[in-house]
């Protein structure tokens, strides 16, 4: 069953906080739900579907549905790291299309900044995770695993640190207009490549921020969406995938976006050339370069050249991306950026982005999430949306 135009995004909310030591994680989830309902013009009693991932406390939906006192008939706790929330959108749309729910809420929230989280500490999922004994002793951390993907990309395709730096430069051009962004200063290629080398070849400014906060998205049946007071945003296409290490026969030249992207474009019935705005997961600069290739915005190996010279800057280049400043400059709540990728794409389609970064007459947008680690196991989810 195609999901094309079977569900609409009717509510969005991004928490303005970037540091919340005085709030609980459940409270932040509730605050973003509250904000998205107000944005949609709905009440919590309208919600009959709910999704959250591993950033939620307790047993996820059990804890949160009870805490929020929702009455749901669709629930989802898929956890593929930062890409979870885009998958939640797909699952909610499937439930809506099947008549299993009418209005679904997706929330993300966390406080990694207040809790002292960094990308330089191993994420230890415990000895029962089959990969852990074979990775933990080598001090594999988020940072150096993405760095290994960047190193290989440079080796295979001649990608340079200067090209990677352009991703950060573009994000910073957008973040200067976002009063909530953690990093609002416009940076240059030289600033990025001269920032401290963290793990070859990634510099400090190749890395995303660590922030508290969160976001929420609400989906509804099209006839409900048409009765609300916001531009109708249709879901056109979706694609999900997981890529691992293939039993040791590894190939780090591509991410799982190679599978989720074409699936989403096929369902949407459009091509990458039709996309006017793209939210691209930006845990690191290399993440963006590889995903752009895998999603089909350029050929494999040409991502470095594609992002250079401001090609991702709104009003300057061919593909405006992450006009909120993205994870590289704005926020990365719960160390998971998926929901903010959806939110900024919807802002662009509604015409609600900052005027300095708004894409004129933005009718087709893409949001893409990657969760986990691109050089080992990661989830990938692509959403294509249109404004009616």
């Amino acid at each position: 069953m195609s999901l094309q135009r079977k569900a609409c995004i009717v509510g969005i909310y991004e928490h303005p906080t970037r540091k919340a030591p005085d709030k609980t994680i459940a409270q932040l989830h509730a605050e973003v739900a509250h904000g998205a309902l107000a944005d949609a013009g709905l009440t919590f009693r309208d919600i009959d579907g709910y999704a959250c991932a591993g950033d939620a406390p307790g047993l996820g939906p059990l804890a949160m549905v009870d805490y929020l006192n929702l009455r749901v008939r669709h629930m989802d706790s898929t956890d593929t790291g930062g890409s979870s929330y885009l998958i939640h959108v797909t699952h909610a749309a499937e439930a809506i299309a099947a008549g299993k729910c009418d209005i679904a809420l997706v929330t993300l929230a966390g406080r990694p900044r207040s809790e002292g989280s960094t990308g330089t500490v191993p994420r230890n999922f415990g000895a029962n995770a089959p990969d852990v004994p074979f990775e933990l002793p080598y001090h594999a951390v988020t940072l150096n695993q993405y760095a290994m993907a960047a190193k290989r990309h440079m080796h295979d395709y001649g990608t340079t640190s200067e090209q990677l730096a352009w991703v950060k430069v573009a994000a910073s051009h957008h973040a200067q207009y976002n009063p909530n962004a953690m990093l609002r200063e416009v940076v240059t290629v030289e600033d990025v490549v001269n920032s401290p080398l963290m793990s070859d070849p990634l510099h400090r400014l190749d890395c995303c921020v660590v922030s508290d906060g969160g976001g929420a998205v609400i989906l509804a049946r099209p006839e409900i969406a048409r009765a609300l007071n916001k531009p109708v945003i249709n879901l056109l296409g979706t694609g999900n995938s997981i890529k691992g290490l293939n039993g040791g026969h590894i190939d780090l030249s591509h991410t799982a976006a190679r599978y989720s992207g074409p699936a989403a474009f096929e369902e949407a019935g459009i091509t990458p050339a039709d996309i006017q705005y793209a939210s691209i997961y930006d845990s690191f600069t290399i993440t963006v370069v590889m995903q752009l290739e895998d999603l089909g915005f350029c050929k494999k190996g040409e991502g470095g050249r594609f992002v250079a010279d401001g090609n991702l800057i709104s009003g300057v280049g061919r593909l405006p991306f992450n006009t909120d400043g993205g994870g590289l400059c704005n926020n990365h709540p719960a160390n998971r950026g998926g929901i903010t990728k959806i939110i900024e794409a919807v802002r662009q389609l509604r015409g609600e982005a900052h005027p300095k970064v708004q894409v004129p007459n933005c009718g087709l947008a893409l949001a893409h999430g990657t969760g986990g680690v691109i050089s080992s196991r990661h989830g990938s989810a692509t959403l294509i949306m249109e404004r009616v």
């Binding site: 004994p133 080598y138 001090h139 594999a140 290994m148 070859d200 040791g248 026969h249 780090l252």
Partner: protein
């Protein structure tokens, strides 16, 4: 630039019933990988069920202990001392995560030939690492 390898405290792996032979072999200075009797393919990390054909006829094999660097990164600001994380492709064709040790970390290159060494872990079995051949 020269960044000489320095020993660090290595977090001990916690063996499981499924991978205990791998760590028993490490105590003897051997690197075990698995090969499938049904499809003849090697895999890593070792599993009971072959990840290539799903046969349960998998067999432990002593790896030659030589390979080449598939990719690597020298982490300079993660621990107090720099260290090199890598994927090494073994002569048998499978790649494994590892560290490159006992060398100038700034002289490493992708494709470089390496050989197996073991480093002690903090209270657990020795850990398979590699050094330039």
């Amino acid at each position: 630039m020269t960044t000489l390898y320095q020993d660090r405290t290595i977090t001990a792996p916690v063996p499981t019933p499924e991978n205990q032979p791998y760590y028993d072999a490490a105590e003897r200075g051997e690197l075990l990988i698995k090969r499938c009797l049904a499809c003849a393919a090697y895999h890593f990390h070792p599993r009971t069920i072959c990840p290539h054909c799903f046969s349960d006829q998998t067999q432990w094999v002593v790896a030659q202990g030589v390979g080449t660097i598939y990719t690597f990164s020298v982490s300079r600001r993660v621990l107090p001392t720099a260290y090199a994380i890598a994927y090494v492709t073994l002569a048998e064709g499978v790649s494994m995560m590892t560290n490159i040790v006992d060398c100038d970390l700034d002289a490493l290159t992708i494709g470089q030939a390496v050989r197996l060494v073991f480093k002690p872990s903090d209270g657990g079995p020795p850990v398979a690492m590699f050094t330039p051949a």
